[in-house]
Symmetry: C2
Subunit: 272 residues, 2 copies
């Protein structure tokens, strides 16, 4: 199952990533008969639209030191609109133009991703701990494997937006990298590719010559110290995928030509 | 196949329609085991968001006298975002909260709806005929029946946004009523319900006491003269559905309590 195994690829929502070369690679892999699931982000585009709608994003620092978006109900609805509508459908269109029968879904559709909702955030602001209510984000707890397998069996390429549904049927915002990791683990994927706007994990960010090219599975934890900002979530996603049985995770450069094919050749940070 | 036959319901994008009672009805029908496909609009919400984004909608009159939205590329992308993201996902959430396993798709996903793109519009403005280019709308020509049947067989309620994909893989805006009609015909539905913000076809719009309660199938054409504005498209959709083999179409009031159940009881304009 190494040649021909399932690939899950996450394309980032960060600025400066052109979906063209990404879609070319997906089309090439589909033409070879490789089953693929695409997961995407959309945080940058959500920020752009939010600003234009007069609701600028608010980033907060949790008591554990993570930076994250404060997703109140209004922000959730903008996020759902942008990632579920704009980013998802434009990616589907770009793939369809290249002959890939892409099928866009959000994690809320058909309970594709079930999450535990986090309705409050404990944050640190001006040196004080505060509680923010009306939070609409969550952590994926269950993947609807039969739905994804059905879509793949129908000959479609699923394109998944990072939303999920809670047990109570509430829609929530989830982290795209960790959603991709959960999907890869649930489907028993051979490879998970997490594209980003750096060449991989850098020992001394932002110096790109300090790329860590290989992390054995029992040394992921020891590398957490090098992960800055968004890279923390990616490395956490990589860890979750490996623990969930995925053979190999590649953190790779989404800005490059042939971004997915390069990653599959091992260019980037390979965790296995 | 009359009791228990497939129902296709279109919920409008017009102002003043509360999705709550609509979702209650869908949940009641699903609890009875009736297969349902939901199709929705989103023109009003698209106009609201377009205005807020500084791109007010432009309506034009075609040479055949129809009023329609001019969908340039920027408008298409806003339309896709609003109907494919906001309207679709909020409807999915409302259904999920009521225990319905709703699964949102746009017509572009998995080539659910294939359309012929209309890339130019011939319009009348200031008494002159003009050609508008960069138009991104289309007319549905093919429904992916196996995809919809697969989703229904999986126990999901498909919720379809009015987008489609052209043969060249271009995303286009399509009319929701006619898309619902095409889906109902392709699936051999028993009943198509088109909800609107009036009680049905009115002989003397807007006088609601002049409701036409019944139209035999060979008298649809003769009733076209009474149809004003959006109702023209609905009656055209009804005609296409009936010609396509749907047993009964009901044009009914989406503002009422129990809007779908009332329509199934024959309240509104019944075409059969």
């Amino acid at each position: 199952m190494v040649e021909g195994g399932l690939i899950v690829v996450k394309i980032g929502g960060a600025q400066g990533i052109d979906p063209g070369p990404f879609c070319e690679d997906v089309a090439a892999l589909v033409a070879q008969g490789r089953p693929i699931v695409v997961v995407h982000g959309g945080s940058h585009e959500t920020n752009v639209i939010s600003e234009r709608l007069g609701k600028p994003p608010r980033y907060v620092t949790s008591t554990s030191g993570h930076q994250s978006r404060y997703t109140d109900r209004e922000t959730l609805e903008i996020f759902a609109m942008v990632v579920g509508g704009r980013v998802n459908k434009l990616l589907v269109e770009q793939l369809q133009r290249r002959g890939v029968n892409a099928l866009g879904l959000s994690g809320a559709d058909g309970r594709l991703l079930e999450a535990k909702r986090k309705s409050t955030l404990k944050i640190v602001e001006d040196g004080k701990v505060k509680i923010l209510r009306d939070e609409w984000s969550g952590v994926v707890e269950r993947v609807n494997v039969s739905l994804l397998r059905g879509v793949l069996a129908g000959g479609y390429v699923p394109v998944v937006a990072p939303l999920a549904i809670s047990t109570e049927g509430e829609m929530v915002n989830v982290d795209g990298d960790r959603a991709a990791a959960a999907i890869a683990a649930a489907l028993g994927a051979d490879t998970l590719v997490l594209l980003t706007n750096v060449p991989g994990l850098l020992r001394a960010f932002p110096d790109e010559t300090t790329l860590v090219s290989y992390i054995p599975r029992d040394e992921i934890e020891a590398h957490m110290v090098f992960a800055q900002g968004r890279m923390k979530r990616k490395l956490l996603g990589a860890q979750e995928a490996i623990l969930g049985g995925v053979r190999r995770v590649v953190l790779a450069d989404g800005r490059a030509e042939r971004p997915v094919l390069r990653a599959l050749e091992g260019k980037g940070t390979v965790v296995e």
